[in-house]
């Protein structure tokens, strides 16, 4: 029980890390290698506002999300739209996006270094035990999990029941047909990319409550997010959530029962095994 809850909390954290990338890659079709840097930006904002003005990271989120949305929206229109336009095929776009966002990741790290230096930033917020069903857990992790649930649910409902959400899903399935039925693909792709960025930055602000970050740590999160998105299946919100939770529970289980030294090995093993049996990811569609 204790393992399950700890694992779910960790899984919630992973969902926060990966959900934004899933939107950006699954729908806007940009494999964003600068995803982790957006997490660090979110985390730094929370750190800075907390240590300079005692603003709770839970409030910072409401500032970070719209700013990140705007920032990512601009990134899409200025940087990525030209690539989408010039790409002759999906594969070409993939390669270009990898190269461009890799460069963007470098630029982001460089800017962050210049702005807030290379030092670790870590602060203590809600690092208190709470008791659930007879065991103790970290309040900040529980809070982040709750936030993850809210965010994921909101995205899921929005994609499935709102008009723009349904258009976006149509784009994910087939951009060409979506264009034929009168959906403004570039605009919605930009919107989704921006939304993905906002979710990612929000995740960063939340996880900074318990992760020690520095300007260069982004790449670790990018790798993790890529693994989760692929494992769940590109473009599927449920897939990302399930994959994140699965990973969280597995890592916790291995750490608690087998050997903490194998935690990450087990995580990657799970990822590899899943791909061997379901090459398109847990919820992915074949042939994409």
């Amino acid at each position: 029980m204790d393992i399950l809850i700890t694992g779910l909390f960790l899984g919630g954290t992973y969902a926060l890390i990966a959900m934004g990338l899933n939107l950006q890659y699954g729908i806007a079709r940009i494999m964003n290698l600068a995803n982790g840097e957006m997490i660090v930006v979110g985390g730094f904002s929370a750190f800075w506002l907390y240590s300079s003005a005692q603003v709770s990271p839970l409030l910072t989120v409401f500032l970070v999300a719209p700013v990140a949305f705007l920032l990512n929206w601009l990134i899409y229109w200025i940087m990525l739209r030209p690539l989408v336009k010039r790409a002759k095929s999906r594969g070409q776009l993939e390669v270009d996006a990898i190269l461009a966002t890799f460069g963007l990741a470098f630029v982001s790290v460089g800017i962050m270094l210049a702005v807030f230096g290379g030092d670790y930033f870590s602060y203590s917020y809600l690092a208190r035990p709470i008791r659930l069903l007879g065991d103790t857990y970290a309040l900040n992790r529980a809070t982040a999990f709750l936030a993850a649930v809210l965010i994921c649910a909101a995205i899921y409902l929005w994609l499935n029941y709102s008009r723009p959400g349904m258009s976006i899903r149509a784009i994910a399935v087939s951009p060409e047909s979506a264009r034929l039925v009168g959906i403004d693909v570039p605009k919605l792709a930009a919107l989704t990319f921006a939304l993905g960025g906002a979710v990612t930055a929000t995740g960063g602000a939340l996880i900074s409550m318990f992760f020690t970050l520095d300007a260069s740590t982004g790449v670790i999160f990018t790798l993790k997010a890529l693994v989760i998105v692929i494992m769940g299946g590109v473009g599927d919100v449920r897939g990302t959530i399930v994959a994140a939770l699965l990973l969280g529970v597995l890592e916790t289980f291995v750490a608690a029962v087998i050997d903490p030294g194998l935690t990450l090995a087990a995580a990657y093993l799970l990822f590899i095994v899943i791909l061997l049996f379901r090459p398109q990811g847990l919820f992915g569609r074949r042939g994409t």
């Binding site: 204790d2 393992i3 700890t6 909390f9 960790l10 954290t13 992973y14 790290v109 270094l113 230096g117 290379g118 030092d119 670790y120 870590s122 602060y123 203590s124 690092a127 208190r128 035990p129 103790t136 857990y137 970290a138 992790r141 318990f210 992760f211 020690t212 520095d214 300007a215 260069s216 740590t217 670790i220 993790k224 969280g248 890592e251 916790t252 750490a255 608690a256 050997d259 903490p260 030294g261 935690t263 990450l264 090995a265």
Partner: protein, 400 residues
Amino acid sequence: MKRRTLLNTTVALTLSAALAGPALAQETLKIGAVGPKTGPLAGGAAVTHWPNIELWSTEVNERGGIDVDGTKYMVEIIEYDDQTNPSETISAVTRLATQDEADFILAPYSTGLNLAAAPIFDRFGYPQVTSTASTDRVGELSDQFPNLFFLLGQNSEIVGDAVEILTELREAGDIGNRVAMVNVADAFGIELAASAKPIFEEAGFELVYETSYPLGTPDLSPVMKSAKDSEPDAFVAWSYPPDTFGLTEQAVIEELDVGVFYTAVATAFPAYKQRFGAAAEGVMGIGGVNAESESFQDYAARHMEVTGQAPDYWASGMMYASLQILEQAITGAGTIDRDTVTQYIKDNSFDTVMGTIEFDENNNNPAYWTVGQWQGDAFRGVASTGREGAVDPILKDGWE
């Protein structure tokens, strides 16, 4: 064949002319500095490495430069970012030696990068006074690289003293026999844990929980829960910065009740105290300083003033000491000839912020702090291999 020799001689002549040439006219010393500004170790280097270089060069230039046989030499620092990548460290040191023709090069940051650079330092005859390298192979390394100096100490001593402190506390009846030991599965953590295990067993401790976890483990709560379940009297973690923070936070949350709580690297960072506040009281870790000594207090104040941040209580002082040693050796030798300066470092003792330092026959500093503990607002040395001013260890008393 003959032509080849001729060619080589010409090259050698040109090279030596190039190296000797600037020394005649200049009044500044070019000092090369390499270290991570990005990459996995950038966070640590931003605490320990770069601020001291800034502090030292500022101070030297404020007092008019380094005295070499009556002439004052200002220092000019040439910095390179090695991105925590040994290939880049090698390139950067080579560039400093050949392109920038640096008069001296400061040791890079961390064991791996220091050793990667060692052959280049050796080849060009630069002394490398390391302050962030920790190894058990000092003898072998100094045989291969006679210009390589170690300030920070040997792993076996760091581990041995930690066990000794525990033994003392046990003999005083303060703690029992049960130790939970974890380590981060990266080079340094593995090396420390591998040394520690036999020493703990020899000292009669029972390792009730023992495990490693990968660097970058996102959630350490299973580790801490298992450690807690094993009901230890002492918790020892051979840890790295992010997990040092993570483990402590989990210990607070799990309300781990131990007499000794020990985490390794970064425990001595000011950020640790800043983050955990009163809960840090009684936490032990690698390093420590004589916080009461005037020289250290003075150093800490100047560090704060010049760089805007506090030094850490382990390698920072050593890093600064390495710069002082270099400066004193240049002045003492009265020349900037590197071989003479290297020999001077071997033969003499130096007065530094960490106290007097003298290298042994293996180019190793035999007297260094091994175990420190947060007591009040400072991380004070509780054990050393021959340093003055150790305080008595206190028991960890809860997390409030």
